[in-house]
Amino acid sequence: MISNAFILALRELYRNKMRSFLTMLGIIIGVGAVISLVTLGGGATRQVTDQISSLGSNLMMVMPGRRMGPGQGGGGAPFKLADAEAIEREIPSIRAVAPTSASAITAIYGNENWSTTVTGTTERYFDVSNLKIEDGRSFTEPEIRSGAAVCIIGATVWENLFGHQNPIGSKIRLNKLSCEIIGLLESKGQSSMGSDQDDTVIIPLRTYQRRISGTMDVNVIRLSVKDGISTDKMKTEIGYLMRERRHLSDVEEDDFSVMDMKEISTMLTGTTKVLTGLLGAVAAVSLLVGGIGIMNIMMVSVTERTREIGTRLAIGALEREVLLQFLVEAIVLSSVGGLIGIALAVMTALAASNLLQVPFILNVPIILESFLFSGVIGIVFGFFPARKAAMLNPIEALRHE
């Protein structure tokens, strides 16, 4: 009976190819939009998390001020080098601590100049941030201690100042500081925050404090935790230590924040996820509109086929058989539309993710959900017209012109 109804429905829809296609279009676009947007959104989220994990999985950051959304929050005095040293000294589960201070700067070499970021830090920075030196060497202990005029540059700075010449041993100028290049970083590519991780110049912290900023401040303390240590426990320990060092009384809130990768990643992917959700919801509304389109056409179809319905009823079709016939037609319309939409969406998402350089991740649950949802739309919006058909009076239906 059901399979029969499907055959009848398919035959009927095939007879009105153009109209069936136009009716399906609403569902095709709806399902297509939902799936392609969610797939692209998923890809973008994955990209962000990938980049964050490339920063080093056990990375934590301590920043002055309470956190208020992405980046730094306001308030709270900056750290000093001693704070970083205290963390390293007093918390045993920590593998490495790198105090960092950074600012925008113009690097000059010969006739070339390039706007970049200069970071003052220690040799532990490379370990903490998962950076490798491709060419040359890292800072030595005496260089760090004395604040020598040496620097390590990223690939972007190198390309822009030197073309592809070997930079090791050359001197570049940062403001009034002339410093010798002792190393070149291995390229890491685009970062999650949209900034280029290779667009950087790294110098010893002391050099930065004396020659660039003129203060003894440390902006961010980056640290990496030993494997297998819970970051939550770490956060509490660092929190206690910093509260003590900053002389906060019991009633005062933290004027600094400790973030682990999970938080940083949640913070950054949060926006992408919300956006994906919103776009998906808008697309779902279009799916609903597609359903109304199906109902509209089914109503027209019932009116148009009144005589046929009358004939079927006279021949002995039961109410529920007529109901089923029209319901199945609506379901076939919407689910075939759903299938076409899925196919289109996968192709669109594939092409778009190539174009936007976002990873393509097929979200199977959302595809199944969309398909089921399109079927449900067929049932919901097909029911009313189908009922109308089933309730027709056969005598009047037979007389209908």
Partner: protein, 242 residues
């Protein structure tokens, strides 16, 4: 429904109408279509129903075809009281024991003759292969062997009506109800259709009830019933005279 026994002799009526009335509308708009009709039809009869438009013949036909229920009175089909049946039960009755032929043929457009004839078998839940076989033989019986895959649009009016007859007899009904079957056809085609109906009546013993305007067509019937103002004016049995 199918459990009803049908071992009826020629003397007990197949269809029995007892003081049937049908009233449309209420109050001042009230219109009496049938004003108390008594009628008995026997197995194997070929009955023509005649009358001016508005005489109640179509209403009577609809009630006979279990498409409509009377306002009052009793309608027994093979002993079953039809006026007490639900809509679905009447549909079951139609699908198993009645065949319909309409003035406008009422075939499904863009559907082959074979599929049109198969339609009532689909509702009876016949298996596909058996459906094919029965539909083919029904088409052959109406002289349309070889036309199975033509759609109504590709057939002449007479051929379309023959497809409709095949559709009506494919279920081997007890009664064939024809509502002005020749109304849309020229006289040569009309004669063909009437001869076909007559042959089903004579060779297969199917009871035929036909509404018609034309006396020539009514002449094929063994019994003619005239309606006037919602009542039977004349009930004429040709066979009895012979």
């Amino acid at each position: 429904m199918s459990a009803v026994g049908f071992d009826l002799g020629n003397d007990s009526p197949l269809i029995e109408l007892c003081n049937i009335t049908k009233v449309y509308g209420t109050g001042t708009a009230k219109m009496t279509a049938l004003g108390g009709v008594d009628l008995a039809l026997y197995p194997g009869e070929f009955v023509a129903i005649m009358g001016a438009s508005g005489s109640g013949k179509s209403t009577c036909m609809n009630i006979l075809g279990c498409l409509d229920t009377p306002t009052s009175g009793a309608y027994k089909f093979c002993g079953i009281e039809v006026s007490k049946l639900t809509r679905n039960q009447r549909a079951q009755l139609r699908r198993h024991y009645l065949g319909f032929i309409f003035q406008g043929f009422n075939l499904l457009n863009r559907t082959s003759a074979l599929e049109n004839v198969e339609l009532p078998l689909v509702y009876r839940g016949e298996h596909r292969r058996r459906r094919r076989k029965l539909a083919k033989s029904a088409l052959a019986q109406v002289g349309l062997a070889g036309w199975e895959h033509h759609t109504p649009g590709e057939l002449s009016g007479g051929q379309q009506q023959r497809v409709a007859i095949a559709r009506a007899i494919v279920t081997e009904p007890l009664v064939l109800l024809a509502d002005e079957p020749t109304g849309n056809l020229d006289s040569a085609r009309s004669v063909e259709i009437m001869e076909l109906l007559q042959s089903f009546n004579r060779e297969h013993g199917i009871t035929v009830v036909m509404v018609t305007h034309e006396a020539d067509m009514a002449a094929y019937a063994g019994r003619t019933i005239h309606f006037k103002d919602g009542l039977i004016e004349q009930d004429h049995n040709h066979k009895e005279q012979v």
